[in-house]
């Protein structure tokens, strides 16, 4: 584990990002699809074409993609634009920039993913650790099977059930959306409270399902740490049992959680996107569904590229902070 690793790791990050951008460039050309024509014919079939707008659009896109230029030049231009997060205009919301459409949706998803991930990691690790700890209450052992059963079911299916029981029948929570329609998204306390109320059920769907993944891994690791020599010595020291649990058990058992969180993040985000679709939550997922329904290729490619980039970035950051949590791992050459 040296600086060489660091360079390679950053190299992998750029490779993923470059791959994601290239994929978006190559696929339509292999499939021989022209996004603009697709969209035009779709609009025409709805009889909803305002000719002035269409002219401007076609002109813009031809110029933008340089369709008269050689292929390699188109490619370089394309990659260069993506590298600068310049995805051009949204086809459906012309003349709004894809970037500004996405930037409206991104905070919603970011907050939802981050908050629910932190909560499920904490609860999952706590549950898994307590189930494996001989001194803990048996209640945790009873809690374990239902949590594990839930973990087998996709987030959004749990989400649908949550909507039915807690929003439709009991009316404890609003029926989907990110904020009450009609309230203006101002950044004041009332709006935050309203947004939080809307976010509880989607977050709960993610948390309920994910706790199990975290808990079962934690349980396995806690069992392992109890067989370790350092646990025996700590006990021989007469350390108090909370210290054995927290500093010798949990502190060591939680390390693989970081790695597996990084590995499953892509999976989590895919699930969150569908949760948003179920709840009509105004984040990236709902935006993605709209772009699919509208054949808004520029928006779609922009979203996909940004999601892949965000996950690659998060994974990179997790990899880089890991040595701070496990002193045995170091990427710097030892003096």
């Amino acid at each position: 584990m040296t600086a060489e690793y660091l360079l390679r790791r950053i190299g992998v990050f750029f490779l993923v990002v470059w791959g994601a951008a290239s994929f978006n460039f190559i696929l339509p050309r292999i499939a021989d699809v022209n996004p603009i024509e697709e969209r035009m014919s779709q609009l025409a079939s709805r009889g909803a074409v305002s000719s002035g707008n269409t002219e401007a659009m076609i002109k813009h896109f031809e110029k933008r993609f340089g369709l008269d230029k050689p292929l390699w030049e188109q490619y370089v231009r394309y990659i260069w634009n993506f590298a600068r997060f310049d995805f051009g205009f949204s086809i459906a919301f012309f003349p709004t920039q894809v970037r500004s459409v996405i930037s409206q949706a991104l905070p919603w998803t970011l907050v939802l993913v981050t908050v629910s991930s932190l909560i499920y990691m904490f609860l999952g690790m706590a549950l898994g650790a307590l189930v494996a700890w001989p001194g803990a209450s048996r209640a945790f052992k009873l809690l374990f099977p239902p949590i594990m059963a839930l973990s087998a079911i996709p987030y959004y299916l749990v989400g649908i059930a949550l909507i039915h029981f807690f929003a439709f029948q009991l009316e404890w929570f609003p029926l989907g959306g990110g904020y009450t329609v009609g309230s203006s998204p101002g950044w004041d306390f009332d709006f935050y409270l309203d947004a939080a109320k809307h976010a509880i059920l989607p977050a709960l769907a993610i948390i309920l399902v994910s706790i199990g993944f975290s808990a079962i891994q934690m349980r396995g690791m806690m069992v392992t740490t109890q067989g370790e020599d350092y646990m025996l010595l700590a006990e021989a020291k007469g350390a108090k049992s909370w210290r054995l649990f927290a500093w010798y058990g949990v502190r060591n058992a939680m390390l693989p959680q970081i790695t597996s969180f990084a590995l499953t993040l892509g999976h989590v985000v895919s699930g969150v996107i569908l949760v948003e679709v179920v709840f009509g939550y105004p984040g990236i997922g709902t935006m993605l569904l709209q772009s699919i329904r509208n054949f808004d290729y520029t928006l779609l490619y922009g979203i996909v590229y940004l999601v892949i980039l965000s996950i690659a970035l998060a994974t990179l950051i997790l990899d880089l902070i890991y040595p701070r949590l496990d002193p045995r791992i170091t990427y710097a050459p030892r003096s």
């Binding site: 350092y230 021989a236 020291k237 007469g238 500093w247 045995r328």
Partner: protein, 338 residues
């Protein structure tokens, strides 16, 4: 057996173990990993406990620390330090007794330290949990002092275990063991993973510190050669029982139990202080499975001097001193020959 052991132990012993039994309860029944183990160690003395793996020596060590885990259980006996029986203390009382009365230098020092904590914190946290109220700077001084005693630089306190060599790690575990000046130190094969030169150094450090504390040491091991250089008395374990005890000289020159005799015979010359290790592997036959112990004397299937009575009667420890070494103390063996 108990009457005789008590006569030997007396009241001034640092550790007096009497009729200790440990069993593991598995689906195939009860396994007696240690049965009727009795011995005592005087303050400032060092006793060695040798035996093949599975003979119950580590089980005995863990039982004295009350570290036997389910499905294992201490079934009987007592272990008295200062008039207090460790085996009848409550969990919390035992926790306090650890480190202050009895401390462990563990087997396998390679993994005995928490990989994610600095050495100094691992020394301190044992003290903290014994309500040692010190300021941060006092703790720092204490750590430096302890590290110095075991021959380590004060910088080691700020290092992580993976940055230390095996010998250094073992020294840290010794520093932890002596941090509250215990009356008894149990060293469970403390040097088994180390090379010969380091082994000697560590043992010397341990011996020096023990002299300073006037503590008693119970040294567990399978290497009689290494042990012979450090211990005053020796106990030999076989199949969970103590089969012979006595002074080092008694056991080396006049072993009574046929098993001990074979052990001693299998050693390379002890007088030559060369690097040959006196491992216990040169004895014909295999150690019996604790699942199915032979009846009577468990050693009889391997014993060259076995008699007709051996499979049917279980021998108890009894005094077997020869007259001309009687002044050295009692020698006991559990063998029907005597």
């Amino acid at each position: 057996m108990s009457a005789e052991t008590h006569a030997n132990g007396g009241h001034s012993a640092a550790l007096d173990v009497n009729d200790l039994g440990v069993s593991y309860y598995t689906s195939s029944g009860e396994i007696k990993a240690a049965d009727g183990v009795s011995f005592s160690i005087m303050p400032g003395k060092r006793m060695g406990l040798v035996g093949e793996s599975g003979s119950g020596k580590t089980t005995t060590a863990l039982a004295l620390m009350r570290l036997i885990k389910p499905p294992g259980r201490i079934t009987k006996g007592s272990a008295v330090i200062d008039g207090i029986d460790l085996l009848s203390l409550s969990e919390e009382e035992m926790r306090t007794a650890k480190l202050s009365q009895i401390a462990l230098v563990p087997q396998g020092a390679m993994n005995s330290l928490n990989p994610v904590a600095k050495v100094k914190n691992q020394i301190i946290d044992g003290l903290r949990d014994h309500d040692a109220q010190h300021s941060a700077s006092q703790y720092r001084e204490l750590v430096t002092e302890l590290l110095d005693k075991v021959g380590l630089n004060r910088q080691v306190g700020d290092m992580y275990p993976h940055e230390l060599s095996g010998g250094m790690k073992q020294r840290v575990t010794i520093a932890i063991a002596i941090s509250m000046g215990p009356k008894v130190i149990i060293a469970d094969e403390p040097t088994s993973a180390l090379d010969v030169v380091v082994q000697r150094q560590i043992m010397e450090t341990l011996a020096e510190l023990q002299d300073e504390l006037a503590a008693a040491i119970l040294l567990i091991g399978h290497d009689i050669g290494l042990m012979a250089q450090f211990v005053d008395t020796l106990g030999v374990m076989y199949a969970g029982r103590l089969v012979e005890t006595g002074t080092l000289r008694q056991l080396l020159s006049e072993p009574k139990h046929p098993y001990t005799q074979m052990l001693i015979d299998s050693l390379p010359s002890l007088e030559r202080k060369d690097r040959k290790r006196g491992d216990l592997r040169g004895i014909p036959g295999t150690a019996p499975s604790l699942y199915a112990l032979p009846s009577g004397c468990p050693f009889h299937p391997r014993c060259p001097q076995a008699m007709d009575i051996c499979p049917s009667e279980e021998p108890l420890l009894k005094v077997v001193n020869d007259d001309h070494v009687a002044n050295q103390g009692e020698q006991q063996a559990a063998c029907l020959l005597y």
